[in-house]
Symmetry: C2
């Protein structure tokens, strides 16, 4: 009989499981780890020693439990010393962060994205951020890899990345360009901004414990990171989640994709900008200024927000009927539109979604806020570390 | 260190893996099993002996390979002796079958469903089928359980079943009613017709090897069995796949769900019946007669089929953008509508779906035909057997 995985495979799995646990849950007592991982005390001790030896965790004084008996030592992720770089390439800005194991943002940079610069061409700008941030990295730190969040439209149209259905994320030209500026032996992984934001909110944000969720993301276009039974919906060719091209208005406004009446045409940035008697300008800031104007009572801005809110609820109702999700999260600039029009969104949901499904869905904004994309991008790199902790460190 | 699963757990997993392999692939040589399961020859021999001892498989003479050397014995599922009962409760008919391990339909019955009889109330009629079929069961046969396919609308509205998100299928009143007529120690599992049809086509029909697929099913309503990365999309509360209530025509025809312009209102049975200058009547037969009339050149029937085909393509395009599926299968009476209007469906897809996603999707009809629901229902019972082969037999 085959006796299952080898001792070495089991050890690697257990190392990964322990490190993943403290990466997600933070400082954890050995006693809790014993229970959570179903391993005995001496095994937890041996695994912790191995991870501490590799500089991935540290053991420290226990928290006061107030209970009798010897308290259990606490295992902490080395959040200050083990880190990934995360990038977010957005339509009108570029962001970079240094993210520690455990998900804390240790350092961050942001700049406007020059008009007309393709995603792959932003690599020198992102690399400049890294040079700056590197100066603040404590001696003895470990860089484990980098993750890049790119909006779905650019992944599709400019093709900086090739997305494999299985692994989901494989870098191409953008990764190659960044490689020149980073330790080339560490992975650079590229993901859709909506997808990685969904993963981040699922792991450590609003959707902890909710395995069926839809994270809606609007930058210029609208797409979604969809998690089904705890795993990302990738689709056959890695293109799943293009909810912005669900047609909601037959014969409606022409969409950039060539179709008409796509959801994106009625809730996208341009719908909001066109609906309000424009202060001019485009981009995230212009969209948010209309939401602000509506809050101040500007009549045409209020009408535009109402209209977009109605359509937002319309599409969400369709998705609720199709997916029966436990949560819908409104990310990107949809966050502000949702907050300004929550009553209209809920009203549409009540008139269009099936009763059981609409009762089960929670409508939320990202608990990680704008950091969701950065933390999610970093998770791509941490995922590699967690798969084989000792192989991925020097 | 914990050394992983126990010998006994590994043996059970391996027994299940071997039985699943021959259940899906049919007669298989020991040599092929060795390769496919990654186990050595003596282990395969021992597992086969155990399964043969329990009457689940038999070993037989090898097929002629034309190659030199001693040919490898062939392991076959005991398709004639190990069986499940399968039921399909449809809007206007009731079907039952005896399905052998390996998926062959050994016996079948069908009758009209009396008007106004709720799903749970059909149990005596289904039990009568079982009594008839039991007379043809060979001595020494093993009954492993039963599966019931019910259309989504009835699962939702009449509540014969309670669907748990995790396992998906748990019987309530219908199961209890059937239990009285069947060996009560064996499980009776209830599933949505679209879901179990999707599972059947994925396991042994049109979608073998395609892990992202949508099986559209129309009885009176329209719903879908959706498979994402090889697993069923259940949704948070087991209600995922209600694609018939995606609104495609804002302010359109009133739907039974209380909303307006649902996809169901423009591709459902009534849309077809209302569109054609009616020969009267409702139900599956009436719908199919309109497709026939269109094929014979009847002008109003042709117009109705064209119209429904356009809307069919419209909704499919939305689903293709959202899911990026590898395949869409048109089941139930949608099969005939699709075949009569395939060009219009494809044309809508071309104008509305994103190029990469529409190029990746195959449009198909069920390879298992109308048996998909019955074979899928039987799979629910076989799934229990495969999880622990020796525990589930007497």
């Amino acid at each position: 009989m085959r006796v299952g995985p080898s001792q070495e495979e089991i050890r690697r799995q257990n190392l990964g499981a322990l490190l993943r646990y403290v990466h997600i849950h933070g400082a954890t007592s050995r006693a809790e780890l014993t229970t959570a991982l179903g391993l005995n005390r001496s095994t937890i001790g041996a695994l912790t020693a191995d991870l501490a030896g590799a500089g991935l965790v540290s053991e420290g004084a226990p928290r006061e439990t107030g209970r009798a008996g010897r308290p259990s030592p606490v295992v902490r992720p080395e959040s200050e010393r083990v880190f990934a770089y995360a990038y977010s390439i957005e339509v009108d800005r570029l962001r970079a962060a240094r993210v520690g194991l455990g998900g804390a943002v240790l350092d961050r940079r942001e700049t406007a994205r020059p008009y007309g610069v393709a995603a792959a061409e932003t690599a020198p700008l992102l690399a400049a951020f890294v040079k700056e941030m590197q100066q603040a990295v404590p001696a003895g730190s470990t860089y484990v890899g980098a993750g890049v969040a790119v909006c779905g439209l650019e992944m599709r149209e400019e093709g900086p990345v090739h997305v494999k259905p299985e692994t989901g994320f494989v870098d191409r030209s953008l990764g190659a360009a960044l490689d020149a500026h980073l330790a080339p032996e560490r992975p650079i992984l590229v993901g859709n901004a909506a997808d990685v934001s969904a993963l981040a909110e699922h792991a450590r944000g609003a959707a902890v414990g909710c395995d069926d969720l839809i994270y809606l993301h609007r930058d210029v276009g609208v797409d979604a990171g969809i998690i089904v039974r705890g795993r990302r919906l990738t689709g056959h060719g890695g293109l799943g989640g293009e909810v912005g091209h669900m047609v909601v208005q037959p014969g409606g406004r022409e969409c950039g994709c060539g179709s008409r009446g796509c959801w994106e045409t009625v809730i996208g940035e341009y719908a909001l900008l066109d609906g309000a008697a424009g202060g001019g300008g485009t981009g995230r800031r212009a969209a948010l200024s209309i939401v602000d104007a509506a809050a101040r009572g500007d009549a045409s801005a209020k009408a535009a927000v109402r209209e977009v809110g109605d359509w937002l609820g319309f599409g969400v109702a369709n998705l609720v009927n199709i997916f029966n999700p436990g949560m819908v999260i409104f990310g990107g600039t949809l966050r502000d539109v949702y907050l300004a029009s929550a009553a209209r969104v809920r009203s549409r949901l009540n008139s269009m979604a099936l009763p059981a499904s609409r009762e089960q869905v929670k409508l939320r904004t990202p608990q990680l806020g704008e950091d969701a994309a950065l933390i999610g991008a970093a998770e791509l790199a941490f995922e590699h570390l967690l798969a084989a902790p000792l192989d991925a460190t020097p």
